[in-house]
């Protein structure tokens, strides 16, 4: 094996980001507390450069590196770009929030960067081990980040729950992977795919074994994505973590989760589509039902968003169920727009929070229109988008997914989905109601830095702009799967 065959240049963005993360780790140790801003600036700078590297490195063809462990294709490029952009947004929104709580520490940024590297590796995995390593790098950073505000008992409890359930899920995944490895004799996704389709054709005992492995993989994916009935960790973790960390968990990792589904289920186990389709239909319907119904009962906005995430996962899975390239691209479109919406949602929650006050109850949003009409408007757009009301991007995401399901003659799935989104609309409307119709308890206008204002406004307007002109993002997602 020569050094050239590693093709290290293909993984340049990851390599660069990893180097920067290590560098920032060292630099931060020597920084006095009042110079901590440098860590922040360095972090953001490295994200921007990573983004530029990804864009520069873009390719239409499929390139392999590290002895075929690592793959670069159009899907990987697109997802990585959005992972980096969204994480950049999370760091912008969380700066003042962390400062106000005296947890403006280097660890947040270092762990955050490592988790981004993990996501990027997942997205580019071409081998079960690579996928698993990326996932674990992401998860371990997130476990630590949840407990990051270590004096907070809620956070510690959430971290514990997250860790234990996450570890079980990882165990499931490993078990499933080991079965697949045992039956196919390879960790390479493409070789597994060949073995799976051969087994499916032969329809022998080996095929049953494959399906057995598939079940564990689906369970693990359900855990990581938060699909019902494997969703139990989500509300507690969303609620217990500092909002900055919730934002980190609730946005970009969904993109990585989508990539994991694509790599595992479609690329490796595509031959078992008929089997996993049925399993995912159940996960999807349950997620839509439980997510939307239980969200109504929440008074904490972070818990509500957790349940709303569950219902959105149900929609993303709908696109996967379709099992066509339209379905995959619609699911990808949905995931990207969902990540943008929930980024904005957490941004507004962090904006509302002040020193010693979390602003995570729905009633804390009361009278936002009187306090800051502009941010109330942004939040309204975000909520309408989550509810899927035009002219916001959320509507197009739902339309794309529904079209994909109807295309494969699953009209009843589309009807179930719209039925639960009717139920879902109520809790999004309630947020608008609280902001616009209720009177404010605290009438002080919201204060925040210019960077936050610009970022949040851009975020909200992007949702609206994509609602008026979704064609660009949509054709990007479609081109990925052609």
């Amino acid at each position: 094996m020569t050094f050239e065959s590693l093709n290290i240049a293909i993984a340049l963005p990851e390599v660069f980001l990893l180097t920067m993360a290590c560098l920032i780790l060292v630099v931060d140790v020597y920084l006095p507390a009042d110079k901590r801003n440098l860590t922040y600036v360095l972090t953001q700078l490295s994200l921007i450069i990573t983004l530029l590297l990804i864009i520069r490195n873009q390719t239409d063809t499929r390139l392999l590196a590290f002895n075929d462990l690592f793959v670069q294709d159009a899907m990987a490029d697109t997802l990585k770009m959005f992972i980096v952009i969204i994480s950049f947004g999370v760091f912008v929104y969380s700066r003042e929030y962390l400062q106000a709580r005296n947890i403006f520490k280097g660890e947040f940024y270092v762990l955050g960067l490592f988790s981004i590297v993990g996501m990027m590796l997942m997205v580019s995995a071409n081998n079960l081990l690579m996928l698993y390593l990326g996932l674990e790098l992401l998860s371990l950073c997130l476990y630590a980040l949840v407990a990051f505000n270590r004096d907070n008992s809620n956070a510690s409890e959430a971290a514990m729950k997250y860790f234990i359930l996450g570890a079980i899920a990882s165990g499931m995944l490993l078990y499933g992977m080991s079965i697949l490895y045992g039956l196919s004799g390879s960790l390479q996704l493409s070789e597994i795919a060949v073995a799976v389709s051969q087994a499916a054709e032969a329809d022998n005992a080996q095929n049953i074994g494959m399906v057995f492995g598939l079940v564990f993989v689906v369970v693990a994916l359900g855990f990581k994505l938060g699909a019902v009935p494997f969703h139990m960790w989500m509300p507690d973790v969303y609620h217990g973590s500092p909002t900055a960390v919730t934002a980190l968990i609730g946005t970009a990792p969904k993109l990585a989760g989508f990539a994991m589904i694509m790599r595992l289920m479609v690329e490796a186990l595509g031959g078992l589509q008929a089997d996993w389709q049925q399993m995912i239909i159940i996960l999807s319907v349950l997620s839509l039902a439980v997510g939307n119904i239980i969200a109504i009962a929440q008074s904490n906005i972070k818990r509500m968003l957790a349940y709303s995430t569950i219902s959105h996962v149900g929609f993303i899975l709908l696109g996967i169920i379709a099992g066509t390239s339209e379905g995959y691209s619609s699911a990808m479109f949905y995931t990207i727009s969902y990540a943008l919406m929930s980024l904005g949602g957490f941004g507004v929650i962090m904006l509302m929070a002040r020193q010693g006050f979390e602003a995570d109850n729905i009633s804390d949003l009361a009278g936002l229109n009187q306090r800051s009409p502009w941010f109330a408007f942004i939040m309204m757009i975000l909520m309408l988008s989550m509810a899927g009301i035009p002219p916001t991007v959320g509507f197009w995401a739902k339309l794309a997914v529904l079209t994909a399901v109807v295309d494969v003659d699953l009209v009843w799935m589309a009807i179930i989905a719209v039925f639960f989104s009717i139920i879902g609309i109520f809790y999004y409307l309630r947020i608008i109601k609280v902001m616009y119709f209720d009177d404010a308890v605290d009438t002080r206008p919201l204060e925040c830095g210019r960077d936050m204002q610009i970022a949040l406004s851009t975020n909200g307007l992007a949702i609206l702009a994509l609602g008026f002109y979704p064609a660009a993002l949509m054709s990007l997602c479609i081109s990925v799967f052609n």
């Binding site: 229109n369 079209t403 009717i422 064609a471």
Partner: protein, 507 residues
């Protein structure tokens, strides 16, 4: 002069961007500036929309002023506008009513006037777009988006139970429309196009048609609203600010009726044919039963809201009675079907004027007395004689007095229903009695008799702004009542084409 302009786009986007400008100018500065700006925008939009009338070629049923550019090419969704004889009058009604609404809120709305006016202007653009859209998804986008400003309007500037009313309004309409969305997606899957005119021509089996028809019915029946899904309307009307009620009654309800014309009947003619008894039954229940319900209301706005439901019953009756007119062997005159559809259209426009006027009148009283209870009034004629004259006039129009626009549409529909079934006409004609009873009884209790309390004694008559609004509407009601020909003429070709289309079975 308008020939080479993208006129429909201008009429849609001028009020929307104008509304955004009003919104951005904010509530901190001079409220009068915001009001004048909104008035200028709404008048400019109205003047532009008159260009649709003057440039309209009434000899053809083809779409006119068509604008078409690809919007989302991966789904074949186009930015596609165009009008025919059905949508053009309704667009003008929309732009006309918006001027009155802007005027009606002039000094009455003190809380955040910029947001209030902006909501109306944005809604105006969205509603015009609903009437003008020729791409189903394009239509759906505006159809849903239109709910948001109304939701905010009722919720922020509404009465005591505004939150309940506005959420009910939103969820009711949303439930109906998502099933329509699934139907539209299904037809895209079958036919490969979201263009409404392509859907008209698309062959569908009977079972598909029935399901699609029911999905459309869910959307449009809620919007019209038809009995038994009408219950959101009285709540929304009672809680909405005056302007909101006017838009709701004068235009939003028409969008339901328009939906039947544009979607249900032409896309699923066979299902409409075999289920016409259901719609006719629901319409007659609305006319008769809701008429009785209106009779016992104690709240003026609720009374007018129920009367709206009863009047809209004529629209759906007129549209769906055509199949039975054709089937009736005793049918002697050939034009009865066209009469029914044209009557339904006239009824929609006339109801836009009259219900708008009724709600504005209640608004005039409410601004002074802050109550809508009929019991709180009496003898208003002694202190507000000019206003009382207008009130009696509009009440007569609401009751369907010949010479007013209220008579024309109802009369046309009743005459046409005679060709289908005597009892339809008989039950429909009951409205002439019931309508007169509930409206005139309300007028009697509010305006005549002795002055009942000091509040009424201190009332001041109409100011010049209110007088202007009332006069404009009175002229409109009279004009349409005495000489409906200009409106009927523009829609005639479209009606003929529509009837020819739905007479041909798709299976």
């Amino acid at each position: 002069m308008f020939a080479d302009l993208p006129l429909l786009s201008l009429i849609v986007w001028l009020p929307i961007f104008g509304g955004v400008a009003v919104l951005l100018s904010g509530d901190k500065g001079d409220a009068n500036g915001v009001r004048v700006l909104s008035l200028v925008i709404s008048i400019a939009t109205f003047v532009l929309s008159l260009g649709l009338y003057t440039g309209f070629d009434s000899s053809t049923s083809a779409m006119q002023f068509v604008e078409k550019t690809p919007w989302i090419s991966s789904f074949g969704i186009n930015y596609h506008f165009g009008v025919d004889g059905f949508s053009m009058p309704l667009i003008i009604l929309t732009t006309f009513t918006t001027i009155l609404v802007v005027l009606a809120g002039w000094e009455v709305i003190k809380k955040k006037p910029a947001q209030y006016l902006a909501a109306f202007l944005i809604m105006e653009g969205l509603m015009v777009a609903v009437f003008a859209a020729l791409d189903a998804i394009f239509f759906y986008v505006f159809w849903e988006a239109m709910l948001v400003p109304m939701f905010i309007l009722i919720g922020v500037w509404g009465g005591e139970r505004r939150v309940y009313a506005t959420i009910k309004f939103f969820i009711y309409t949303f439930i109906g429309s998502v099933f329509m969305l699934v139907a539209l997606i299904y037809m895209y899957y079958k036919g490969g196009s979201f263009a409404i005119l392509d859907m008209h021509a698309m062959p569908l089996t009977f079972n598909e048609q029935v399901l699609i028809f029911l999905a459309f019915l869910a959307a449009f029946a809620v919007k019209v609203p038809m009995w038994p899904v009408h219950t959101w309307l009285p709540d929304a009307h009672v809680e909405a600010p005056t302007g909101g009620s006017v838009i709701l009654a004068a235009i939003m309800l028409k969008i339901g009726g328009y939906g039947f014309i544009r979607f249900s009947l032409p896309i699923t003619p066979d299902a409409a044919h075999s289920l016409d008894w259901l719609i006719i039954f629901m319409s007659l229940v609305a006319v008769v039963y809701i008429g009785f319900v209106a009779l016992v209301q104690k709240d003026m706005k609720k009374l007018v809201a129920y009367s709206s439901i009863a009047h809209m019953g004529f629209v759906t009756l007129g549209l769906f009675v055509v199949f039975q007119i054709w089937e009736n062997p005793a049918n002697v005159s050939g034009g009865a079907a066209a009469l029914a559809v044209e009557g339904a259209m006239i009824q929609m426009i006339s109801h836009g004027f009259i219900s708008g006027a009724m709600f504005l009148m209640i608004g005039v009283l409410y601004d002074r007395m802050h109550t809508r209870e009929i019991n709180a009034y009496g003898g208003v004629v002694h202190t507000m004689p000019i206003f009382a004259a207008f009130a009696v006039f509009f009440a007569m129009a609401n009751a369907g007095l010949p010479g007013t626009s209220g008579f024309v549409g109802e009369f046309m529909v009743i005459i046409a229903s005679f060709q289908a079934n005597f009892w339809y006409a008989f039950l429909g004609a009951l409205t002439l009695i019931l309508g007169a009873a509930y409206t005139l009884w309300m007028v009697k209790r509010v305006f005549y008799g002795e002055i009942v309390n000091d509040g009424v004694r201190a009332l001041k008559d109409l100011n010049s702004r209110e007088l202007t609004i009332m006069s404009i509407l009175a002229v409109a009601v009279l004009a349409l009542g005495l000489w409906p020909a200009p409106v009927v003429d523009v829609m005639h070709a479209s009606v003929e084409n529509f009837l020819q289309h739905i007479a041909v079975p798709k299976i």
